[in-house]
Symmetry: C2
Subunit: 243 residues, 2 copies
DNA sequence: CGATCGCTTGAGCTATCTCAACCGGCGTGG
DNA sequence: CCACGCCGGTTGAGATAGCTCAAGCGATCG
């Protein structure tokens, strides 16, 4: 007896297309259960063919690629509301790995039902495509970040974006939000060395812009941070359907 | 009287789901015409809301973002078979621009029909999502490239990938394939300065690995190129449906 | 108590950047 | 038909952001 989850993005996304009873029935079939995992668990492995897709209900994770050299490129941070495994659902295998950083609660879907979803639930299928387009947009932003910005700009922008997402998700209390990653994770996401990341963080901390210690991000001067990140107010974060 | 185009990826993609008569009828409605544009034409403008979506039948283009600093991040090269404007179709506006480098022939679709496609043609909708997932995969690869590879590795890998795509598209004659871009375009794609790109190209040319002059890419030593690109044979390019 | 992990800091090195000049080809206008 | 200007490519030289190596420190854990 599986209940459809209230917070699944497939349900939340279509602001202008609420679920009918029939849809709720369908989503009940589509959903196969809920999953709780411990920190460090690998949810998806690059090259594997996961039979399941997930929606993050709670917790934080990391999406990354492992290079032949053994280095790691973090693609992005996985927060509640994110969809995990679209590639596995649509392609033959995953092209990146996903790992739980904290304990996570996931809504589990059966990959095999995906085609049925396209057939019977065009609105949800549309949502999925929308998710993929957003994902593409974010990767494009990150690409521009790595391609053209200095170390301090990359870090500042990463913090602005994370803070914005945190606000949208209600994770921010005062100026603080939990960000339980290692400096190495940030370095791998931004294409910087650990040492340089560390020194840049120190600089930002000592100039009173942001501090990130003990897994807590504290934004002390948001405007200044945006300035360093070369962001003006005209570039808001996309967090909800734009359609 | 518009004829559905034989080479549209929406048709080609579903290798295992050929079109029925009814589907052909539908695609005929969906398609609104063909478009020929001159080199330099901007097909999509960042921030705009294009009423049309395209499929590339012929010619080459460039997908890029413009940063606040005025710099440009090339996201990827647009080749025949690519779909252009999914973001505009699904989101409120484009997050990047698309420009024709050579003359291009495009298959034009009406954005407003997109929802009807999801409703009536789940197989094509599935194809669209597949396209988006592939796109995401490529951006992830590029991210890893910019994040963790040296200048010469980036250039070598870009050439390998382009060559592979060229082979898949039948653009390669002997060792040559047309690549009518400027060094500045490559530099903007790889996050390198023009000067450094130029010097690295010279080095690759003089060591007899690849030459790229007069808009022609000539791969002289593919194995060596792959080696420099830190690619082994186990990382083939994804050019067709993996499902 | 020793080992491991994440963070910190110093020092030297270099890949890459910026600035700047020059060159050849091509299109345009006189 | 010539001259000029522009564009893309090429090359040199000096500056530096960021890298690597290496060592040390505190906390946590078995």
């Amino acid at each position: 007896m599986v209940t459809p989850c209230r917070d699944c993005p497939l349900r939340k996304l279509s602001l202008f297309a609420p679920m009918s009873d029939r849809e709720v029935d369908f989503m009940q079939d589509f959903k196969t259960g809920e999953l709780k995992v411990d920190p460090g668990t690998t949810l998806m492995l690059e090259g594997s063919n996961s039979p399941q897709l997930y929606t993050v209900l709670d917790g934080m994770g990391l999406r990354y690629k492992t290079l032949l050299s053994g280095k790691r490129q973090v693609l992005n941070i996985v927060l509640p509301g994110d969809f995990v495994g679209l590639q596995a659902g649509v392609m033959k295998e995953m092209q990146h790995s996903v790992e739980a950083t904290t304990a996570m609660t996931l809504c589990v879907f059966d990959r095999k039902s995906l085609w049925a979803l396209f057939r019977d639930q065009p609105e949800r299928a549309y949502d999925l495509t929308w998710i993929a387009a957003i994902e593409e947009h974010f990767l494009g932003e990150t690409l521009a970040l790595l391609g053209h910005m200095s170390g301090i700009e990359r870090i500042a922008r990463a913090f602005v974006r994370l803070h914005d997402r945190g606000v949208a998700l209600g994770l921010v209390a005062g100026a603080d939000m939990p960000l339980p990653y290692r400096q190495q994770d940030l370095a791998d996401a931004l294409g910087l060395s650990l040492v340089h990341t560390n020194k840049t963080l120190k600089h930002l901390r000592e100039t009173g812009v942001v501090s990130w210690v003990h897994g807590t991000l504290r934004v002390l001067d948001y405007d200044r941070l945006c300035e360093i990140a070369a962001l003006d107010e005209a570039s808001p974060l996309v967090t909800r359907p734009l359609i």
